[in-house]
């Protein structure tokens, strides 16, 4: 039984910034973080003197491998003029900046620091797909990586187990993909900010202009069933079930609740945080859920006093389409085995009762792994402040949102609940 948790003192979010996500041959990690940092500074309503930042926590998974450069804490500290003050890198695979956020919260809650910058960065696209696959597999279990199991492979294995247990099919995964693209269409920072229909139209247009046979897809499902445009990566997962290889950075400004009004009249409060860890694939008895997510969610719900129904919207770690379905269940938004039905019913659409991944998710926004945790919270920030533009959730009483960040195959997981009071 989990003990009820609380912070030593309250923590508020008063600023957030995000670089554009994508494949940038002409930008490195420093350029990307600069973009996020600039937006964060501009987002602090009453202004921030950057010299007042007490500490930096920076999530990065494996730039060591991707760029042959490690030790990114001080590199970014130097970039933003933060030295000689504390700079700490956090590593939790794809949950690296979920951890950075959490460490920042603890640093303030402990009373030690008042103003903390948290964020993340990853620069992946300068390697080949095969090399990135190998780099990401650094977060898998030693036994599993060595025999050739990849990350798409791990989630594909979970997909076959899920299909077998609950009767879902590949068509149900497609519903997640179509929904993510519909949301990303309204996110100018997304790597793929266009709907599946937009992609179909541009392919048809291209074929027409080249005098090639015009594809005859009837609808989005038919397009996704076409192996030419949507080839298999790791069966039953296809290209459009998988998040892309991305570059990007994100950051957020955390302050002690008692000084939040010095920065903005519209702060967000950290209502709940939770973290879990998990086992290798071969060691779990049931491959259709993540124990780490359930634990992290439970911790966050206990701290906040909220229940899953009270979370109005969430960003969840949809590294693969099947993952989004499983997370809906693990976060308690629906019962085990019902995630795929909930998506099919449209409940998770932007205008549905429980919008999920309004940013387009990892699938469409992009997944520069170390930047993802705080990028998800950036979306929660935008939505709760009513600044999400065309993808703003059509609910005038938006008050509570959550982000769920997952590293490895559930090895590290964080759940964070933000609230407007």
């Amino acid at each position: 039984m989990l003990r009820e948790r609380k912070l030593g003192r309250g923590v508020a979010v008063v600023g957030a910034g995000l670089s554009k996500f994508g494949v940038f041959k002409d930008k490195n990690s420093k350029d990307l973080f600069t973009e996020a940092f600039q937006e964060m500074l501009a987002s602090v309503d009453k202004g921030l003197e950057p010299k007042d930042i007490d500490a930096l926590y920076l999530g990065n998974f494996t730039n060591d491998f991707f760029t042959h450069q490690a030790h990114w804490g001080p590199i970014i500290a130097d970039l933003i003029g933060h030295t000689p003050k504390a700079a700490t890198r956090t590593e939790g695979a794809c949950a690296s900046s979920g951890l950075a956020f959490r460490e920042g919260v603890f640093a303030i809650a402990s009373g030690f620091y008042d103003i903390v910058l948290v964020g993340g960065v990853e620069e992946m696209s300068k390697r080949t797909t095969s090399e990135v696959t190998e780099g990401l597999a650094l977060a898998s279990s030693p036994y599993e990586g060595q025999i050739g199991l990849t990350f798409p492979g791990c989630f594909a294995i979970m997909a076959t187990a899920y299909f077998e247990k609950y009767g879902a099919t590949r068509q149900h995964l497609m519903n997640v993909t179509v929904k993510s693209h519909n949301n990303a269409r309204f996110n100018p920072k997304a790597q793929f900010n266009l709907s599946i229909r937009d992609i179909m139209d541009s392919r048809i247009e291209r074929a027409r202009s080249k005098g090639e046979p015009i594809p005859a897809w009837k609808d989005e499902q038919e397009f996704l069933l076409d192996p030419v445009v949507n080839p298999v990566v790791s069966w039953p997962l296809y290209l459009f079930d998988c998040c892309p290889i991305s570059d990007g950075a994100s950051c957020m400004l955390l302050v002690a609740e008692e000084i939040a009004k010095n920065f903005t009249d519209n702060p967000l409060h950290v209502a709940g945080i939770g973290q879990g860890s998990g086992l290798d694939l071969h060691a779990v008895d049931d491959l259709t859920f993540f124990e780490a997510t359930r634990h992290a969610a439970n911790e966050a719900f206990k701290m906040s006093g909220l229940n899953p129904e009270e979370i109005q919207f969430a960003e969840v770690h949809d590294c693969f389409s099947i993952a989004e379905i499983i997370h809906l269940e693990d976060l308690g938004f629906c019962k085990p085995g019902e995630g795929y039905k909930v998506v099919a019913e449209g409940i998770t659409k932007l205008d549905g009762p429980k919008p999920i991944n309004t940013s387009g998710g990892l699938k469409c926004k992009g997944h520069p792994v170390g930047a993802t945790g705080t990028a998800q919270l950036y979306e929660v920030w935008k939505q709760l402040r009513g600044e999400a533009g065309k993808r703003q959730i059509p609910n005038p009483n938006l008050r509570v949102g959550a982000a769920h960040n997952l590293g490895g195959t559930g090895g590290t997981c964080t759940v964070t609940i933000l609230e407007r009071r």
Partner: protein, 139 residues
Amino acid sequence: MTEERPFSDITYEQFLSEEKLMASRCKKCGRLFVPPRSLCPHCQSLKMEWAQMKGKGRLVAFTSIAIGPPFMVKEGYNTRHPYCIGVVELEEGARIVARIEGVAANNPETIRIGTPLTVQYLHQGAQGNLKTFLAFKPV
């Protein structure tokens, strides 16, 4: 001299190269671990014993991988020639991830969860740098 070897990953691989699939069993709670563990994560006991697995099991979940890491590409696997990896539940109860040979990786729709499997040892590499991969194939 089985009993004298440490319960480690290195020993596990040595056993694989000898074509033995070995587990460690906690003497306190009886749980079985493949690969072997020296410390029981359930009761934290350090009292372990070796148990040889029969090498029989069934397929619990799987994937057919078209895009693999560089070392698999070097082995000749690619989108036209995918490879299968699955979770196998051994007769003794423990689970292990392994290559699945002898199935139609090109036609994964035909591969059935629950398929009975038997162990196969894949010895690869040159003299002095031999490595054995754990695999299973349909009975």
